[in-house]
């Protein structure tokens, strides 16, 4: 009898370990969780991360900033306005429906209806179905960024999202506030299905058995995402083994994580530029290019990266990060206090002046500390800055109202292209066209406007890059804004997670391809 028990127990034990070996569970702790399961309800980093886990785009960015075929296997330009996409065959949605050209058309049309995405998809004319697995995507005028935008097309299951839900609301309705079908239901083609979701508490993803990408090395069978808002708690959860992966890692804890034997720290250069704009409408001093240059020369942004950011950012002299078409190597970061003082003297402002500044205190990494550093750095050229910082909930209204002479803003290009920075941050503010929407410096240079617009429809990429580089040079010489740095993304993970291949400059960790050893 006793022997029988022992045999039985060992069989049970082996069975238990066997199932453990096959199942790889990944526990992820992020600072926030996705606000919805509807990828079109909000354009934000968190929602795009979710899209990559649950849905799958036509094409996606690689680490080298090239395009990787996903649901589109190849593409070719037919004319100036049209790009033909050949769709992957044999792909199934989570609902079991097959993926066809109809779903691409449905998705692009839905994007054009979304409040958040319609701006980005404005240049698009529509989708023409050639056959079940071929579509032509057309634009209204020649558009250089068509492929960049295809990274935003995460085909949704048109059959699954049509009809009406139990409230009588169409299933494809995009509802910002209030219940909707797509808020709680999903059917994408991505590596993970959402099996449980309690907003703000926990989301459980399980690997989709019918996932098309059999070549993906990813072996995560279950992923549990928990938002952990408090920085210290998130780090503690990783160190104590309660979660396997966290992001972001606060700079002050970098050393802790590096020292720990069980976890690794990963950083990846990001594309978000942090700047401060100098309002030329409010202050006549800022209209003088010498004063603006003096300010840029007085800011030791390399020092800020070293001491405040603990080296987790790349010092910037322009908007476009390295790797972008418009990145101009000639626009180097400049810090020269002597030169700054000389420029102030030349402008007749040796004695300086007093101005105001606002900055958020919970929007960007160490935003408040950066703003405080600006105050002390500008004091050296006799500019007295009265700084006010506030939470982001209040900040953007104040920013729009341009309540201060200097205002901080960070920007990440939605298109992963240089033009986007100029369109929002430095083009002449124009209510009608919407350009310069976040240009609170009121810097206005017709040549920059002309070049930015021309670059939009220039499909010769070499010519286009030259134009974008020229823009950066003009902005550099004009000292149109104070550049600080491009923020790095940061991740902490247990040693057995092969994180390196799945991270990228967009901060979309591709968990579908994650290998757990």
């Amino acid at each position: 009898m006793k022997k029988m028990m022992i045999v039985l127990l060992s069989v049970l034990l082996i069975a238990a370990f066997g199932s453990l070996a096959g199942a790889k569970t990944l526990k992820v702790g992020l600072d926030a969780d996705p606000v919805s399961l509807d990828p079109h309800v909000q354009l934000s980093g968190g929602m795009l991360q979710l899209s990559h886990w649950v849905f799958d785009p036509l094409v996606r960015w690689t680490q080298k900033m090239t395009f990787e075929p996903r649901l589109a296997t190849k593409w070719k330009r037919i004319d100036d306005l049209t790009m033909r996409f050949y769709l992957r065959k044999g792909v199934k949605f989570h609902s079991g429906n097959p993926f066809t050209a109809k779903d691409v058309k449905f998705t692009v049309e839905r994007l054009k209806k979304s409040v958040d995405f319609k701006g980005l998809f404005e240049p698009f004319a529509g989708v023409k179905i050639i056959d079940d697995h071929t579509v032509d995507i057309t634009t209204k005028k020649p558009y250089a960024l068509l492929l960049n935008m295809a990274t935003y097309i995460f085909p949704m299951d048109s059959k699954f999202y049509s009809g009406k839900d139990k409230n009588g609301q169409p299933k494809d309705a995009i509802v910002k506030i209030g219940p909707s079908f797509a808020l709680n239901h999903e059917s994408g083609t991505g590596p993970f299905k959402v099996t449980y979701r309690e907003q703000g508490v926990k989301t459980v993803f399980e690997r989709f058995a019918g996932y098309w990408d059999k070549k993906s090395p990813g072996n995560v069978t279950k992923m549990i995402l928990t938002p952990i808002k408090e920085d210290a708690t998130r780090v503690a959860a990783l160190l104590s083994g309660d979660v396997d992966f966290i992001s972001p890692v606060p700079p002050q804890d970098f050393m802790r994580i590096k020292r720990d034997a069980n976890v690794n720290l990963f950083t990846y250069p990001g594309g978000r530029i942090i700047t401060v704009q100098m309002n030329e409408k409010r202050r006549k001093e800022f209209r003088d290019v010498r004063v603006r240059q003096a300010i840029v020369y007085a800011i030791n942004n390399a020092g800020i990266v070293k001491t405040i950011m603990k080296g987790t950012a790349t010092v910037a002299g322009q908007q476009s990060p390295p790797g972008y078409a418009g990145h101009n190597p000639a626009c180097k970061p400049r810090y020269d206090l002597k030169k700054a003082r000389a420029l102030m003297k030349a402008a007749g402002l040796e004695k300086g002046f007093t101005c105001t500044m606002i900055a958020p205190n919970n929007r960007y990494v160490n935003d408040e500390k950066i703003a405080q550093a600006v105050v002390s750095m500008l004091a050296k050229i006799n500019i007295k800055v009265n700084l006010k910082t506030m939470p982001k909930a209040q900040y953007w209204d104040e920013f729009d109202a341009q309540v201060a002479d200097m205002q901080m803003i960070g920007w990440h290009s939605d298109t992963e292209d240089s033009g986007n920075f100029s369109e929002f941050l430095v083009m002449c503010p124009n209510k009608k066209t919407g350009y310069g929407q976040y240009n609170s410096g009121n810097y206005c240079n017709p040549e920059v406007d002309k070049l930015t617009l021309a670059a939009q429809s220039e499909t010769n990429l070499k010519k286009r890059a030259a134009m974008l580089k020229k823009i950066e040079k003009i902005l550099y010489d004009d000292a149109a804004f104070i550049p600080f740095h491009w923020q790095n993304h940061s991740y902490g993970a247990r040693k057995n997670l092969m994180v390196k291949p799945i991270i990228n400059t967009m901060n979309f960790p591709y968990f579908g391809d994650l290998v757990i050893k």
Binding site: G119, V175, K176, I177, K229, T233, A236, S240, D242, Q437
Partner: protein
């Protein structure tokens, strides 16, 4: 008596109106909820359209009257972030907070009573001196520091206890309980200890002071003279009378404890009402904010009104005093 009750209820309604009005008027100062719902690239025109649709552009009074009308029907509005009725969100978060407060109260009772009594009857013992010195320190350490210290010692370094969240919960008729699973109980230990740490020194000192005072009274001296057993004097005659003022203070402090849950819950990512409230402030989820204030207001007003009415029934002088 009837008049007294009617008057008391009338007052309660008035208080509720004032609370809702205050909550409603601060909501415009918190920030723009539309900003948090849309991405940064959305045009001002689209945002304005959304504001219009949500009725945020209506005059203050129109919005307030609409809110009160709906509130009377039991509808406190839709949370902007959760996209669900605010009342539902609050109710779903209540068990977490209630369980945390319950366990904390339990710890308070179990720990502070014996220590308080011991330090009173043996004031010169080394343990008493140590406790007194230590409790001064305890009062002066802020709760979030205690919480982070506990996490680093017990979760990160020793790896005995989990660092965040509620763990495994069991659903009992919609009440998500963490009290019934081992995992849930483990998750409760650190948050409840840090929450208890603020009140514990206070209670130990209170019990000690009350007990010492009573030990000096005539009837205790008389009991000694009568030659009663020590344990009978301490635990029956003295202890019972010590408890009366302690219970009164305990009742008041439980209310204050709810306020402290905001900090504790944030540090431990504890999905309760306090955490929800702080997040609502950060996200300018104003409708949830107002709903929370109203719900908490209702709880306090109802409890106080009931207490007053019962008090009036028990003690007629209160009724008489209220009549003039």
């Amino acid at each position: 008596m009837f008049a007294f009750i009617v008057r008391r209820i009338g007052q309660a309604v008035l208080v509720m109106l004032v609370i809702s009005l205050v909550g409603f008027s601060i909501k415009n100062r918190i920030g723009d909820p539309v900003r948090d719902v849309v991405g940064e690239r959305v045009t001002p025109a689209e945002r304005a359209a959304l504001r219009q649709k949500l009725g945020l552009n209506d005059p203050f009074l129109v919005q307030y009257v609409r809110f009160v009308e709906n509130a009377l029907k039991g509808d406190l509005g839709l949370s902007f972030f959760y996209k669900k009725p605010a009342l539902k969100v609050i109710i779903s978060k209540a068990p977490a907070t209630l369980e945390l407060v319950f366990v904390t109260a339990l710890i308070l009772i179990v720990v502070s009573l014996p220590i308080g009594v011991f330090t009173a009857i043996r004031p010169r013992n080394w343990f008493s001196r140590f406790t007194m010195a230590f409790s001064t320190l305890g009062v002066s350490i802020p709760v979030f520091l205690t919480a982070i210290l506990l996490i680093y010692v017990f979760a990160v370094t020793l790896n005995w206890l989990p660092s965040y969240g509620r763990g495994l919960t069991v659903d009992i008729g919609g009440w998500q309980s963490g009290l019934l699973t081992l995992d849930g109980l483990k998750h409760l230990i650190l948050p409840s200890i840090s929450l208890a740490s603020i009140m514990l020194p206070l209670f130990i000192r209170l019990i000690r002071a009350e007990m010492m005072e009573i030990l000096e009274t005539e009837y205790i001296k008389f009991a000694w003279a009568k030659g009663l057993r020590r344990s009978r004097i301490w635990f029956l005659h003295a202890f019972k009378n010590t408890l009366l003022p302690v219970i009164t203070v305990f009742g008041v402090q439980i209310g204050i404890m709810f306020a402290f849950t905001i900090l504790t819950e944030t540090v431990f990512q504890w999905q309760g009402m306090g955490f929800m409230f702080l997040e609502a402030v950060e996200r300018s989820d104003t409708s949830l904010l107002v709903a929370y204030l109203v719900v908490v207001g209702v709880i306090f007003v109802v409890v106080n009104t009931l207490v007053d009415i019962i008090y009036g029934l028990v003690n007629p002088t209160v009724r008489v005093a209220g009549r003039k």
